[in-house]
């Protein structure tokens, strides 16, 4: 560098320095602008696309699984199925349809393939359930055979696709969150480099011109510092918010959604054990496994979730243990040979009965899930707002920085004309 500065005549040296500073300023401005643009796009994606995708996938799984368990319970009820169960089943189907529409809006290729299976097979499933219903009303066992076929289609084909859809949505959401929460290294490096270059240029100018301050370069340095600080603070704030949404939101969502899946699975196993008159066999073992998973997952969710959510999760755990007790009582009746009394327990409609305990568990987990989902969206929204105005400001600041450098050097270069 000293050799180069000695060889160049002063005005050319000034021009070179000015050009370098302008290039650095433009690079800083451009990089910052691109990063901010990308990240506010990511936060918009979280609030507008991948977040809602995850929520719709959760809803899809819940409604499908609940439809399966509800259809099985309606079959257990004597005579024509109770209107409330019929309504619940129909609501489940309607909700599944609505969730499918949301999921289809922003599906990628893999998701489209999964959605194709779901949209193909859901009408087939409901057709089987209706066939089962007609034969049940005729009082012939063929209805039960169609119900088993429907349930197998649900558990072996539809639910795995819905689960894969949820996992893919969570993966997409997690990817957006990680990208939006990383440290903006290029801006920090370029910003520090620009500030250092500006300071060096001023030292150099001061030596050559005996003027301590060059107003243009001082202004340019200030502008560079502002760009660096504002970008770093705003991007840092946005990253912190999004990361909070991931830690206290998305992770809890994954745990709670898995917990709800276990609860629904256990409920279906419980009903299907009775439908199949299978006694305490393989399906009852599946119930036990699902309930153990549920307890573990609710425990994990209570640890992951912020203090404010723990009340709901605690309630869910209480409902789960109440359900388990009622279930044990019901199984005891069945195992003692009183199948009809067990069925009566499993289908009772009072507020302290088994179905109500499951229902309250489902509501509590769903409420906790809604809070966690809302947190993901809110934190991403906050993160996005932290970046508000930064893009325009960066454009103006970059222009200002460039202008200040040029204005700072023009009189000095002019002195050599």
């Amino acid at each position: 560098m000293p050799r180069l500065t000695r060889r160049l005549v002063t005005p050319d040296l000034y021009r070179l320095i000015a050009a370098t500073l302008v290039v650095l300023g433009l690079a800083l401005g451009g990089t910052a602008l691109a990063t901010v643009h990308h990240r506010s796009g990511l936060t918009r994606d979280i609030t507008g696309v991948s977040g809602p995708l995850s929520v719709s996938a959760q809803e899809l799984y819940r409604s499908l699984s609940d439809a399966d368990a509800t259809a099985a319970n309606a079959f257990l009820a004597n005579g024509a199925e109770p209107a409330a169960l019929r309504q619940r089943y129909l609501d489940d189907l309607a909700q599944a349809g609505a969730a499918l529409t949301v999921a289809a809006r922003d599906a990628d290729d893999a998701d489209t393939a999964r959605l194709a299976v779901l949209t193909d097979q859901l009408p087939v499933y409901s057709g089987l359930v209706e066939t089962a219903r007609s034969y049940n009303r005729l009082g012939v066992p063929l209805g039960g055979a169609y119900l088993r076929e429907a349930s197998a289609l649900m558990r072996q084909t539809l639910l795995p696709q819905a689960q894969a859809l949820f996992e893919s949505a969570q993966g997409r959401l997690g990817g957006a969150q990680r990208d939006a929460a990383g440290l903006p290294w290029p801006i920090l490096l370029l910003g520090l480099l620009a500030v250092a270059a500006l300071l060096t240029a001023q030292v150099l100018l001061a030596r050559r011109t005996n003027r301590v301050f060059n107003v243009g370069l001082v202004a340019a340095s200030l502008v560079a510092l502002i760009m660096l600080a504002w970008s770093a603070v705003a991007l840092g704030a946005a990253a912190t918010r999004v990361e909070a949404g991931r830690q206290e939101g998305s992770k809890v969502v994954t745990t709670l959604a898995t917990a709800r899946r276990a609860a629904l699975q256990a409920r279906a196993d419980e009903a299907l054990t009775l439908v199949a008159r299978a006694g305490s066999g393989a399906m009852e073992n599946d119930y036990d496994v699902a309930m153990r998973d549920l307890a573990g997952l609710l425990g994990a969710a209570a640890v992951q979730a912020p203090e404010a959510d723990r009340k709901l999760i605690r309630q869910a755990r209480e409902h789960a243990s109440r359900w388990q007790k009622l279930h044990d009582g019901m199984r005891e009746l069945d195992d003692k040979g009183d199948y009809l009394a067990a069925v009566a327990k499993a289908t009772a409609t009072g507020p302290a009965d088994l179905p109500a305990a499951f229902s309250e568990l489902d509501s509590a987990v769903s409420a906790a899930l809604a809070v966690a989902n809302e947190r993901v969206a809110r934190q991403a929204g906050n993160g996005g707002r932290a970046l508000t105005g930064l893009e325009i400001a960066l454009l103006l600041l970059t222009a200002g920085l460039t202008a200040a450098v040029i204005l700072g050097f023009r009189p000095r270069i002019g002195e050599y004309r």
């Binding site: 066992p141 063929l142 055979a145 088993r148 076929e149 199948y339």
Partner: protein
């Protein structure tokens, strides 16, 4: 003038083809017909293990007169059942007219349920002291051997091979393997079913009979005979082949099907009991003697199986002592 117009039309058509072929070939989408759970297509047909010749119908003779209900001989299997407070019976809950769920009450009813209740009544004096466990065809021998049920009443064919593994009561229902087909399908006999799919339950004697037909039909196995009717309705099999009495139960649920074909085998149904409980076998045979002679058998037959025609004489017991 005509030629350019034709060319233009052709070009437009070609352009149309090109743009339409790309996004969604919805025209080629085909529905997938669902299957019942655990279908084997084609079915594995186990070759029967060597069994000594025997008289499959011959069971153990009852000893003297039946003990009065509530007074089972001390130390007997029946006394243990009485001490437990209920008789545990493996049944089919999907066999219309034999063992099926009455949707109005949720309870099991049917001809075989009547037979099982008669045994409970003889032990307890109360036909309600009974616990039914629904089992698949393939599970029948296992649950008897494991002792998870006291007996199995589930159209179980008495064969010399099965006598090696379990004991049977005397015959309570005579039957023969035949075919159930869709009306108007033109299928009358096994000879019409060469290379076509015929359904029966896994682990049944029927599946072997299907596989042994000279016309070489393709056996398809399910957990329950009822699943075979589902597959027949869904067009996935061309016929169901099992004992005529079960087929009559299927035909009664779907008037667009009919029972057809020659009687292709002799299938005496007996109550399956553990080999370790000969006292229970003799006791059940005593109960069956009573059921045959006091009109219970005929009343139950008339109530459930009138679709098969007027009630015949109950099958005569055969004993081996």
């Amino acid at each position: 003038m005509k030629r350019p117009v034709a060319l233009l039309v052709l070009l437009t058509l070609l352009a149309g083809c090109g743009s339409e072929a790309r996004p969604q070939p919805t025209g080629g989408v085909r529905a997938v017909v669902p299957l019942p759970e655990n279908v084997q297509d084609p079915a594995e047909v186990p070759s029967p293990p060597p069994a000594p010749n025997c008289t499959p119908r011959a069971s153990l003779r009852p000893t003297g007169t039946l003990p009065a209900p509530g007074r089972m001989p001390a130390g007997s299997t029946m006394a243990k059942i009485a001490a437990r407070g209920r008789l545990i019976v493996g049944v089919d809950q999907n066999a219309y007219l034999f063992g099926f769920r009455d949707p109005a009450t949720g309870d099991l009813v049917g001809f075989e349920i009547d037979m099982a209740r008669a045994v409970a009544k003889a032990i307890f004096g109360d036909p309600g002291k009974i616990q039914f466990q629904a089992i698949t065809t393939a599970d029948r021998i296992r649950v008897i051997q494991q002792g998870s049920v006291d007996m199995v009443v589930r159209t179980m064919t008495m064969t010399c091979e099965r006598w090696q593994q379990v004991s049977f009561s005397t015959e309570y229902l005579a039957s023969h393997q035949r075919l159930l087909v869709r009306r108007g399908s033109g299928i009358r006999e096994f000879s019409d079913l060469g290379g076509r799919k015929v359904c029966a339950t896994r682990g049944s004697t029927s599946i072997r009979t299907i596989a042994a037909q000279p016309s070489k039909p393709i056996p398809v196995a399910t957990d329950s005979t009822l699943d075979c009717l589902v597959m027949l309705q869904q067009g996935q099999v061309d016929a169901v082949s099992t004992i005529d009495v079960l087929l009559a139960g299927l035909a009664a649920q779907d008037p667009s099907t009919e029972v057809t074909g020659a009687r292709s085998s002799d299938e005496p149904a007996g109550i399956g009991i553990s080999k370790d409980s000969p006292d229970l076998v003799r006791f059940v045979n005593g109960v069956l003697e009573k059921v045959r002679s006091d009109g219970t058998w005929t009343r139950s037959y008339q109530r459930w199986l009138s679709a098969l025609g007027p009630a015949p004489q109950p099958p005569a017991p055969v004993y081996r002592d």
